[in-house]
Amino acid sequence: MKARVVALCVVLMGGVVGLQALHEHRGGPPASTSTNLLYVRSPEAMRRLALSYDALLADTYWIRAVQHFGETRRSTESTNRYDLLFPLLDLTVSLDPYFNVPYQFGAIFLAEEPPGGPGRPDLAIALLEKGLKAQPEKWEFAQAIGFVHYWSRQDYPEAAAWFAKAARFPNAPNWMAPLAATTLAVGGSRESSRQLWRQVAESEDAGDWFRREAGRRLQQLDAMDQIDQLQRAVSSYAARTGRQASGWGELNQAGYLRGNPVDPTGVPYRIDAGVVGLDRQSRLNPLPTAGVKIGLPQ
């Protein structure tokens, strides 16, 4: 009797698994038209609905924000870009104002131009100002606002003003005041950009993904320096021979290079009609627009 029951259970479980596999094979339920929905957008209403579980709800919204960002970044659709990112981050920090990572995340990715982000520095600043209101002692938020002005708006005087403001916080690090001065003096130069990202990469307070992003930006800056050098070699070769090099081999033979150059991630550089650039496979793509974002020496 017992063996029969066990056998029946095994058969039924096999049926369930088989039908689920069939369901998966057929592509699941018909496509829905409404995938990106946020039923409650009001942080105040959500805080009340959460009762004493606001932190747990904040975590849920944080996970949703990360998923939404990752999903949208990987998506190839041109519509519906990052439209929930700000509301999700805003709900997260409204429910848990001391949850610092969403502010930093928003500072970088809300401001980033499409396709890497929604290109909304105003929302990034709004989120950070909300953070400063909740935690007025956090110099990191003032620094991040300066950061957004620096990178996304290229408003170097405003960026320097925010860095100077951050430097006046009682617990601000001692490199903040020189950073403000450098930004004011040579804002937009590649070297000041490098200094900015290096501070982030070495910051103990930054999250792991934030440090990784800073590392990638530093690699982009290195790649831009290398591309400049390679471009000079390619131009010099063209001037001497009267024709563009078709590949790195010609430049090697002519003694301009020793080996095929690779970017900081190990992917070979591409040379196309005399113009040097990153290979499509490189994860450093897209490089910030030269001369606008990072301020190439003119």
Binding site: R48, L51, S52, Y53, D54, A55, L56, A58, D59, W62, I63, V66, Q67, D96, Y98, F99, V101, F105, E204, D205, A206, G207, D208, W209
Partner: protein, 268 residues
């Protein structure tokens, strides 16, 4: 005192027989599964989220036990007619009520204690999964003993919910008792709104009524310091002691009320 202890131990044994402690397995499984899966979803916020989830789960599991066992403490005895046999013995009605309450309080204590141990064990494991440079960026260590302050207040909150459930169960049906207990628990989280009611209404009597309710109804929001301990924000010991004292006085009031009502009940 001995009678109370006997009743309490019997309630605890009954809870164990009713497999109430199985929730501990659910709690442990939930935390372990979540801590394993979260790494892929949270962009490095695993420890913070496991802390939030662990504290919330201790409160929710405890709340379910408090409400659904609390409402049946007296009702079950009446329904099964075992109350006649009990009250014919040398046992006072007050001892019966206090013993029932103490038994469920003991069950809750064991539950919360075991959940706390599992919670810290999972956090200790997570702590080993991160390098030193990441750990120094956390506002508090993974196994921060400061979180015990929140757990103490969660426990006092659960004792208060149990007292409310027991109070209602002395004179109403389980369904009504559950509804009233849950209703009070929800209202207790909106206590601050009652205090500020005069800012949104013009009627003076309505404002005074709201202010009166603010003082009378249990202030459950006061017991919630989960977020503060997770972010290592200062929570003065005085606050924890005062809030726990508030809970104890309220519990004494409810137990007194429950004893008074139960003493007047006619079981003929």
């Amino acid at each position: 005192m001995r009678t109370i202890r006997h009743v309490a131990v019997n309630v605890f044994k009954e809870c164990v027989r009713d497999k109430v402690l199985y929730n501990l397995v659910a709690f442990a499984s939930l935390l372990i599964a979540v801590s394993y899966l979260l790494g892929q979803l949270t962009a490095g916020q695993d420890v913070k989220i496991v802390k939030d989830l662990g504290l919330a789960a201790i409160a929710i599991f405890g709340l379910l036990i408090s409400v659904f066992i609390g409402i049946g403490l007296v009702w079950k005895e009446v329904e099964r007619r075992s109350i006649y046999g009990l009250l014919s013995k040398p046992i006072r009605r007050s001892e019966f009520i206090i013993g029932k309450y103490a038994g469920l309080a003991l069950t809750l204590f064991v539950n919360v204690a075991v959940m706390t141990v599992v919670f810290y064990a999972v956090l200790a494991y997570l702590n080993t999964q991160f390098p030193e440079v990441v750990r120094t960026a956390w506002p508090a260590p993974a196994t921060d003993p400061g979180m015990l302050r929140a757990i103490v207040l969660i426990f006092v909150e659960l004792l208060l919910v149990t007292a409310i459930a027991l109070f209602f169960s002395t004179f109403s049906s389980p369904f009504l008792s559950a509804a009233l207990t849950c209703g009070l628990w929800v209202i207790g989280h909106f206590n601050a709104d009652l205090r500020n009611f005069e800012a949104v209404v013009e009627s003076r009597p309505a404002a005074l009524l709201a202010r009166g309710l603010y003082y009378i109804l249990p202030n459950f929001a006061a017991f919630d310091i989960k977020n503060q301990v997770v972010h290592a924000l200062p929570v003065p010991a005085g606050y924890v002691v005062t809030t726990a004292l508030y809970g104890c006085v309220y519990i004494a009031l409810l137990i007194t009320g429950a004893v008074a009502i139960f003493s007047r009940r006619d079981f003929k």
